[in-house]
């Protein structure tokens, strides 16, 4: 559920997907979902892996309706975010970094 949990999944799946290996994420037994997990595990894959590649290589099993809905919303948000051009995102991230430094 946590960002850390999601990051753990991301760190396992990202290298495999970049190497064009198929990955299956099995959610058997998982009944409670929270978007922070999906943001980190799945959403950030869209940073530099195309949706077509993810559709081809990444599958989900035993993901119930609730999890599926949240995942779809996360993917929708992430596609919008990462679709912003690199310059825009870099500008945003620079502002954020400066603000963090000023706190």
């Amino acid at each position: 559920m946590t960002p850390d949990d999601g990051m753990n999944v991301y760190e396992l799946t990202y290298p495999e997907l970049r190497a064009e290996h198929a990955v299956e994420l099995d959610f058997a037994g998982v009944e409670i979902f929270a978007s922070p997990f999906f943001n980190f595990a799945i959403g950030q894959l869209l940073r530099d892996i195309s949706p077509d590649t993810l559709n081809r290589l990444l599958t989900f099993s035993h993901l119930n309706g609730v999890g599926n809905q949240i995942l779809k919303q996360v993917i929708k948000n992430s596609k919008r975010y990462y679709a912003a051009d690199d310059a825009t995102r870099n500008a945003i991230n620079e502002i954020v970094s400066q603000q963090v430094g000023n706190v």
Binding site: M1, T2, P3, E31, I32, F33, A34, S35, P36, F38, N39, F40, G43, Q44, L46, R47, P51, D52, L54, N55, L58, F60, N64, G65, V66, N68, Q69, I70, L71, K72, Q73, V74, I75, N77, S78, K79, R80, Y81, R89, N93, I95, V96, Q99, V100, V103
Partner: protein
């Protein structure tokens, strides 16, 4: 300087929240001692219990001398505080017991499993609200995100405080979650580089689906959307207080207001209706469409 906080009767109408926040406003930099007195208090709702717990921990964290006049507690209040475990945490060996309370809880650090259990078993799992297991899981997941947000964004050093209550005559089930961190408007102002952004506008931005002040290159901002939808369906109420901003979400409205009092952290007050038929959120029908 010694400050006496005379705790008034606290329900959970807007004026009651004003009274709660004004207690914190009485603490100033010169304060070396705080006395908490309950002699004028004849009722404390769950919001007050959660807030007072956090207030006590905040005072302790500042190494201010604290004197809580437990003898000033009226009998009924004391019994309720014993039942919900507040007294057990702060002064007594008497263990809490199950009743209409959802236990008072402190989380200095994020305890994922503990919080899921608290929400699933102690809040929703008491059959006060007729929920399918699926919908219960949805609500647990979305309310859990309120805690997750507090830990990720709140920058609170003393943690997050919760308490709930079932009101059988009113057929309401309530939960309050509060942190004494930096508040939502602070984070939004920093993120947008708009230091003068009014609190109500900052909250409005924060509540838009997809918006997040999360640092780094990862999106956020989905969970609250589900909670909003559910509360509207249930004819319940969702309230957020942060700085002088206030958000009210119910089936009729989603409003963002400025309040006359200021609270530097964030307080969430959730009200569910126990006698409303609740339906599972409709699933998408585009099952064959690609996921990405």
């Amino acid at each position: 300087m010694s400050v006496t906080l005379k705790i008034p009767t606290i329900n959970d109408n807007l004026k009651d929240f004003d009274n709660l926040f004004q207690l914190l406003e009485q603490l100033n930099e010169d304060c070396s001692e705080v006395i908490i007195d309950f002699s004028k208090c004849f009722f404390l709702r769950q919001n007050a219990v959660a807030f007072l717990g956090g207030l006590i921990r905040l005072i302790q964290s500042r190494s201010i001398k604290l004197n809580i006049n437990w003898d000033s507690l009226h009998k009924n209040i004391k019994m309720n505080l014993e039942q919900n475990g507040f007294m057990y945490v702060f002064c007594e060996n008497k263990e809490p017991w199950q009743g209409n309370s959802i236990p008072y809880r402190e989380d200095k650090k994020q305890d994922k499993d503990g919080l899921v259990d608290y929400l699933a078993e102690k809040w929703l799992g008491r059959d006060w609200v007729d929920l399918s297991q699926t919908l219960q899981n949805v609500i647990v997941g979305t309310v859990w995100e309120i805690y997750a947000n507090a830990f990720e964004h709140g920058q609170t050093e003393i943690g997050v405080f919760s308490c709930g209550q079932h009101y059988p005559k009113k057929k309401e089930l309530k939960l309050t979650v509060v942190d004494f961190g930096v508040g939502i408007p602070q984070n939004v102002r920093l993120f947008q580089n708009l230091p003068d952004l009014p609190a109500d506008e900052a909250l409005k931005w924060a509540f838009e689906a997809g918006n997040t002040t999360r640092r780094g290159n990862v999106t956020g901002g989905v969970g609250l959307d589900y909670l909003k939808r559910f509360v509207k369906m249930n004819r319940g109420k969702l309230e957020f207080f942060s700085h002088n901003g206030y958000v009210l979400i119910n089936k009729d409205e989603e409003t963002y207001q400025k309040r006359p009092t200021f609270f530097g952290g964030t307080l969430v007050n959730i009200t569910l209706q126990c006698d409303e038929a609740i339906y599972v959120l409709a699933s998408d029908t585009d099952g064959d469409a690609p996921l990405f």
